[in-house]
């Protein structure tokens, strides 16, 4: 199956990933290639096979609702590209 440039644009929008024209063309070709290869899975009968998300059995972990020591806030937010009064500043969202 071939992925069209239009589909690439749709997926890039979902992924919040800007692509230039050259990247879109290349991505369409490479993704088509990889998904063609993945089509070998289609011939396997998996009707009665349950999916495996984790290979090792997992269970929910609970802990007591109490406050533990936490990370240094100043140190954590010091990585932010744009800060104001302990808040992350972003471009205007609401017109």
């Amino acid at each position: 199956m071939a992925i069209s440039k239009k589909e690439v644009e749709h997926v890039a929008r979902l992924a919040r990933l800007g692509l230039n024209e050259e990247e879109k063309e290349r991505m369409a070709k490479q993704l088509s290639n990889i998904l063609d290869y993945a089509d070998i899975l289609k011939k396997i009968d998996t009707q009665n096979v349950p999916p495996t998300s984790y290979a090792i059995p997992m269970k929910n972990i609970f802990r007591e609702d109490k406050v533990d020591p936490c990370l240094e806030i100043e140190e954590l937010i010091s990585n932010a590209p744009d800060l104001e009064a302990h808040m992350f500043r972003v471009p205007k969202i609401i017109e």
């Binding site: 979902l14 990933l17 692509l19 990889i34 998996t46 997992m58 972990i61 010091s78 992350f88």
Partner: protein
């Protein structure tokens, strides 16, 4: 002294024949000499290392909580968070990222008195098999500087092979410890999923990622694993099982051990010379008393396709956090929020990461979820069942780690699918969450070949025992690269 193993250096340190300071300076001198050729590191932390070496020497002098790691210079892969030390995952999007905390494994290494030399290069966000996808620079294979070191833990494997570090940490999602270990002729172990805490490891594919050691021999591997393994309340997928002393597994005896050879990993796609080296290694194990049987894994041929749907799907979700808001790179051209996201990610991610985000987003998107992602999860079950059936017949499984020896830099970088197919022998192990080791088992024209030993879940002890026995009766691990 920088060529020695950690267990050899440990006895020199505790007998006061050398100091950690002397050792650390010797390793930095070695780095200075060969790093221009190898380029294993993205960050060096000499100042911190000197302080840690001084503290280790005090500890040894006062006999105060000395461990086999105390005073040993080691390297950390750049996707492990290190407090106050750049942690970039070799990506431009994290170029200035200073974590506010240490990964649990880093915390344990520090507590044991390890000396941290720096952070090693990797394929960006651990996505790749050659370290060519690093956003910083490529790393060169110490055995052939024109060849790749493997990936994604290529910097860690190359650093250990070139004696630029005594030990190194790695992470393995589809072979990222074992494949570079094979290409660089060192020992690399991927433990069982959940054996080692992933807290502070920047996530790539959360159901597949696992941390493990890269070392010069099997003994070091066991002792380093001792410090990594164990339950951690900060990682809900870490398993609450007692941790054995892995050094007790170092027994030179595999008499009567039933070991299976995977037929599907000796077919087409595997180089003839690799098969020959592998078959000699199997023969050696047989001479040492193992009972060798042939095992068929009928669903292995689907493993690469399965992996390249599941891993990118998880990655596309995990990497959504890199949006230019809380940390990392932000584009300068941010007029509105959507443009800021799109442009920040366009500027910050490299080609392979973009490709996997796209592939994963596609596989999870409406209309394709059932056909691709869910289908892959079901085939994952079949691959896991292949292993379960196999381990009813034998204790361990064997295969080559890679279909070929290290390839040349640039050889496969234009064809993503060809690169993906080079992970055929390592990927099924991650899909099933199992432990496996890579250790040197021969050479082809001065390039190392790796032997993969796979075990059932939490059978690291059996794997280490077989690996140790092989190593004690061969001397492939003693060879050193000429670095030219």
């Amino acid at each position: 002294m920088f060529t020695k193993t950690a267990h050899e250096l440990h006895s020199l340190l505790i007998n006061r024949k050398i100091s950690s300071m002397e050792l650390t300076e010797a390793v930095f001198a070695r780095i200075e000499k060969v790093e221009d050729k190898v380029r294993a590191f993205v960050t060096l932390t000499k100042e911190g290392a000197i302080k840690q070496a001084r503290a280790a020497d005090e500890r040894i002098k006062n006999k105060d909580g000395v461990t086999p790691l105390t005073g040993i210079p080691l390297a950390i892969k750049d996707n492990f968070c290190t407090r106050g030390i750049l942690t970039t995952c070799s990506s431009k999007i994290l170029a200035n990222h200073l974590p506010a905390y240490d990964a649990t494994v880093v915390h344990k290494i520090k507590a044991a008195g390890g000396v941290i030399l720096g952070k090693t290069n990797m394929d960006e966000f651990a996505m790749g098999s050659s370290t060519e996808n690093s956003g910083v620079h490529p790393t060169h294979n110490p055995w052939d500087l024109k060849a790749v070191p493997g990936g994604s833990s290529g910097g860690s494997a190359a650093a250990v092979a070139a004696d630029e570090a005594v030990l190194a940490t790695g992470s393995d999602t589809g072979g990222s410890i074992r494949q570079p270990a094979a290409f660089c002729g060192v020992v690399g172990l991927k433990p069982t999923y959940g054996r080692v805490s992933r807290y502070g490891l920047v996530a790539f594919a959360s159901s597949l990622d696992q941390i493990g050691p890269l070392t010069k021999d099997v003994t070091d591997n066991a002792l380093f694993l001792n410090f990594m393994a164990g339950h951690d309340v900060k990682d809900s997928t870490s398993v609450d099982l007692p941790v054995p002393d892995y050094q007790k597994s170092l027994v030179d005896n595999i008499k009567g051990m039933k070991i299976g050879v995977i037929r599907e990993l000796l077919g087409k796609g595997i180089d003839t010379e690799v098969k020959e080296v592998f078959n000699r290694a199997v023969k050696k194990l047989e001479e040492l008393g193992a009972k060798i049987i042939e095992i068929s894994m009928p669903n292995f041929e689907y493993a690469v396709a399965t992996y390249y749907l599941i891993a990118p799907a998880e990655a596309s979700s995990n990497l959504a956090r890199f949006d230019g808001v809380k940390y990392g790179h932000r584009t300068r051209e941010a007029k509105d929020l959507l443009t800021m996201y799109n442009q920040t990610r366009a500027e910050g991610f490299g080609n392979e990461v973009k490709r996997r985000i796209m592939l994963g987003t596609y596989a999870l998107s409406a209309g394709y979820y059932d056909a691709y992602y869910l289908k892959a999860l079901k085939v994952r079950t079949l691959i896991k069942q292949d292993f379960e059936k196999a381990f009813n017949q034998c204790e361990l499984l064997l295969s080559p780690v890679t279909p070929s020896v290290a390839f040349k830099i640039g050889e496969k970088s234009a064809d993503p699918l060809a690169m993906y197919l080079s992970d055929i022998a390592t990927i099924p192990v991650n899909l099933a969450g199992l432990p496996a080791i890579s250790l040197p088992c021969g050479f082809i024209k001065d390039l190392p070949v790796g032997l993969q030993i796979i075990g059932p879940a939490f059978a690291e002890e059996t794997i280490l025992r077989a690996a140790y026995t092989f190593e004690q009766n061969t001397d492939w691990h003693k060879r050193k690269p000429a670095l030219n």
